[in-house]
């Protein structure tokens, strides 16, 4: 197994959304970065399944690190998204009250939102809620309106962060789980499933394995990951006409509850559940919970009765035994941890990266020289409300008709800086086989286009 060529400034463990943002931040600051990922592609753990919302932090714990990371990240996302061609579906959100009790809690939620600096929130009446969303069930009693909660593309955004890091010289190693580590003077000797590596600093962004990685690095983990499963149902694109605004429930202690939201890809999503479990690698979907989500969606938006389902999925959130983010640093050891990022990681990642870099800077005088060019990539657009590739002549035919994915887009994904490592990665980069037929029509063609190009192939080795 080949060792990596030179000593790195920073090794980042995990290429989820937090790891990708971390790689970008340190690369932008001039560090030589290497990202070690256990899976064959980025976004293969918690980051592959979420509700794709860009949160304002209106309901985050006041004064928390989570809140400041979310708000810093929100601003940064809005700054960089144009240059990177990242979509924002400006939906706004409504925290809808369906019972007297819930209605009574709206003023507290408003006060919390205002206190968190989300000053454009306001309580709207039942009539205004129904005027804004005519398809809502009639028993809605009122809502807290949060105008700047939006929907984004949950995979193109972190892919853009990683692509930028790569363009700035960061290395990505896949199928490279951390298996051992030794601190030698001021340098880490890291052993992985794909060779060894030396680095001055290690940043733990290992998500669902954050505590395990910390144990390898420090001997005793300071937190414990307790996976919390969230299941989702994606309705047919026809459903998205029935709702414009993200529909949030009045939250309870454990979870933000079941959300109904459009996606950037023109679908309507309901979920997640919140189910605690031991296994870190079993995001099972289960029939009764999926049925519950569908009936919940129909209860809130009756027009969804008999609406076809396009997809179902489950994700595992890297929750820990405590509610807050588990971010800490040991400068002497050259160890930084961004752990327990349980459900707001997609929004907060850019802010978490800034925060960790600031922690690093506290004890290091900067020896790196910042790159002259930020190398921000322009990402292919997959959002339905913006022009798609199939609308641009010369695309060489549509391969996936449910999601209107062209052969040109699939080839471009393979030719990109960070090509997909498995079928899931190809789906997330192009949306092929993500639609209604889930590959009924296109799987054969996709398998041919992908042949010999994925670390984990679609077809078994003896396929031909």
């Amino acid at each position: 197994m080949a060792d990596f060529s030179a000593e790195m400034d920073v090794a980042i463990i995990g290429a989820g959304v937090v790891g990708c943002a971390m790689a970008r931040r340190f690369a932008l600051e001039g560090a030589r970065v290497c990202v070690l990922e256990a899976a064959p592609d980025i976004l293969s753990g918690a980051s592959k399944a979420n509700s794709a919302i860009l949160h304002t932090g209106f309901d985050a714990p006041p004064g928390s690190l989570e809140l400041s990371c979310m708000q810093d990240a929100y601003d940064e996302y809005m700054e960089i998204r144009e240059a990177m061609n990242l979509p924002v579906l400006e939906t706004g959100a409504m925290v809808a009250a369906w019972t007297e009790d819930e209605e009574a809690r709206l003023p507290d939620l408003l006060a919390q939102a205002q206190g968190n600096g989300v000053t454009d929130t306001r309580i709207i009446s039942r009539d205004e809620a129904l005027a804004r969303e005519p398809a809502l069930a009639g028993h809605v009693r009122g809502a807290l309106l949060v105008p700047r909660e939006h929907v984004i593309d949950p995979w193109s955004a972190p892919l853009a962060y990683a692509t930028q890091a790569k363009a700035l010289g960061a290395e990505f190693r896949f199928n490279a789980p951390l298996t051992g580590a030794r601190r030698d003077g001021d340098t880490w000797q890291l052993e992985t499933g794909a060779g060894s590596l030396m680095a001055k600093t290690v940043v733990n962004c290992a998500g669902l394995y954050g505590d395990k990685v910390e144990e390898i690095l420090t001997g005793t983990p300071s937190f414990e990951i307790r996976p919390r499963k969230g299941q989702f149902v994606v309705f047919d694109k026809a459903a998205s006409q029935h709702l414009r605004t993200i529909l949030l429930p009045v939250p309870n202690e454990r979870t933000k509850g079941v959300v109904l939201t459009r996606t950037a890809f023109g679908n309507l999503l309901v979920g997640p559940t919140a189910e605690e479990q031991e296994a870190r690698d079993r995001p099972d979907v289960t029939t009764p919970e999926l049925e519950m989500l569908i009936s919940k969606a129909v209860e809130l938006v009756p027009a969804l009765q008999d609406m076809p389902v396009t997809a179902v999925y489950a994700g595992l959130r890297p929750a820990s035994e405590r509610k807050e983010y588990r971010v800490h640093a040991d400068a002497d050891l050259g160890y930084y941890c961004a752990g327990g990022i349980r459900s707001t990681g997609l929004t907060a990642a850019l802010g978490i990266a800034r925060h960790v870099f600031a922690l690093w800077s506290e004890s290091h005088s900067l020896a790196w020289s910042k790159p002259n060019d930020s190398m921000a990539p322009s990402m292919p657009n997959l959002a339905e409300h913006l022009p798609r590739d199939y609308q641009i002549p010369g695309h060489d035919g549509i391969v996936c008709h449910c999601e209107m994915v062209t052969a040109r887009e699939i080839r471009a994904a393979f030719d990109s800086q960070l090509p997909p490592g498995d079928f899931g990665g190809l789906r997330r980069r192009t949306r092929c086989a993500m639609g209604r037929c889930q590959g009924f029509n296109c799987l054969g063609r996709i398998a041919s286009l992908a042949e010999g190009k994925l670390r984990t192939p679609i077809l078994p080795e003896d396929a031909s």
Binding site: P283, V285, T310, Y313, C437, F440, G444, R445
Partner: protein, 405 residues
């Protein structure tokens, strides 16, 4: 390229090509078939086994050979087939919005026929439990891999479902050295006739009916299907899972065009002439009634062509007709509406196997048509209805099932 035509046909499968051929034979010059794939022919293109073509060509053909003959016959008759052309919506006035390799285009047609076919429900639509590894697919995907791309996605799959298409999956496996581990049916009995299920026995594939799927296992590839059968938990080790059957219409164009849809079929709602809620738009084939044979769809396309041809010569009788309301035990009926004047055949599906009688009656309770039924679960039931008078059409029509089992 022409931007107008007499009839635009959305979908180049058996129904669409049957209609196109017939319209050309009737003398229409400007008939255009819009096919989203690179090749017309529809699903038979990737069913590389017989029997196809008995009704159309009086001989037994494999699916791909049959598809080629359908295309050839239409082209010989002067039909224009535009491949790599996706219809994204049909606007009122017969305006079709197209996505092509040259970008967006429009085509205006005097009449439109939707013949977009159907597809199998996915594991997602069936809400099947478990993890989501590579190697879980529908029969359609399996066949597109082996017949169109020459690839074998697995070597010992479990086939879920026992409809006719599951037998097609079995045949596909047999021809490509794939050895199915088992056929699993979640309903309490196989969905096809006993004689058809002999194929499974001949191939040594056990059939587990009345099974409950507990979980799909494996990562990154499928490793097993866990299920409960006859009260016992079982783990079927496998390297692929084929979800077969449970067809649903490929009704996206109809949905995006705001045509009225039927809650029973999930396809467009039609009257006895095959006309949708847009008077210029007709519908034929499996998008109406999942699922019938290619031969049936082809014949239905030809009948639709004759109706469209007549419709172009005269001012159409408008008026939606009386709605048929299907009762308990009936999954759907096509057409959903009947008008005055001509006889019709209702295409009915029951929920599971039944013995009994189906009866069509009018709002006053008068019986208009009836027949006895003894069906296996997925068998089409056809009921002939004579031309109805205006009294019969004064209110909703009721279709009921009187069970005898």
């Amino acid at each position: 390229m022409n931007t107008t035509c007499d009839v635009a046909i959305v979908g180049g499968g058996p129904a669409g090509l049957g209609a196109a051929l017939e319209l050309s034979k009737l003398g229409l010059r400007r008939v255009v078939v819009l096919e989203r794939f690179g090749e017309a022919g529809g699903i038979p293109r990737h069913c590389g086994h017989p029997p196809f073509g008995m009704r159309e060509f009086k001989r037994v053909l494999s699916g791909p050979a049959y598809a080629r003959r359908l295309v050839q016959a239409a082209e010989d008759a002067g039909v224009e087939i535009r491949t790599d052309t996706t219809v994204t919506a049909i606007r009122p006035g017969g305006v079709l919005e197209l996505a092509t390799t040259a970008g967006a285009q429009t085509l205006t047609a005097r009449r439109v026929l939707i013949a977009t076919g159907n597809r199998e429900r996915t594991r997602a639509q069936l809400l099947a439990p478990g993890v989501r590894p590579v190697g879980v697919m529908n029969t359609g995907a399996l066949q597109s891999m082996v017949y169109l791309e020459g690839k074998r996605p697995f070597s010992r799959p479990v086939i879920v479902g026992t409809e006719i298409v599951a037998l097609s999956a079995l045949l596909t496996c047999r021809r490509h050295g794939i050895k199915p581990v088992a056929m699993v049916e979640t309903r309490d009995r196989p969905q096809t006739r006993r004689i058809d299920m002999m194929l499974a026995r001949l191939m040594g594939v056990p059939v587990l009916a009345g099974a409950e799927i507990l979980a799909i296992e494996g990562r990154p590839r499928v490793e097993a299907l866990r299920l409960r059968h006859k009260g016992e938990e079982r783990r079927l080790d496998c390297d692929g899972i084929v979800f077969s059957g449970r067809f649903t219409p490929e009704a996206t164009v109809a949905r995006q065009s705001d045509l009225a849809l039927d809650a029973g079929t999930l396809g467009p709602e039609i009257d006895a002439d095959g006309r949708s809620s847009d008077p210029q738009v007709f519908v034929a084939g499996n998008v109406l009634h999942p699922v019938e044979t290619a031969g049936h769809c082809w014949a239905e396309g030809r009948r639709a062509a004759q109706t469209i041809f007549r419709d172009l010569r005269k001012t159409p009788k408008l008026g939606a007709g009386a709605r048929i309301v299907p009762g308990a035990g009936l999954r759907y009926v096509v057409p959903q509406r009947l008008g005055a004047g001509s006889a019709a055949t209702l295409n009915i599906r029951t929920d599971g196997a039944v013995r009994g009688r189906v009866v069509l009656s009018d709002a006053s309770g008068r019986e208009l048509a009836a027949r006895s039924v003894r069906s296996y679960p997925e068998q089409p039931v056809r009921l002939s209805v004579p031309a109805l008078d205006s009294a019969a059409l004064a209110g909703d029509l009721t279709l009921r099932l009187d069970r005898k089992d």
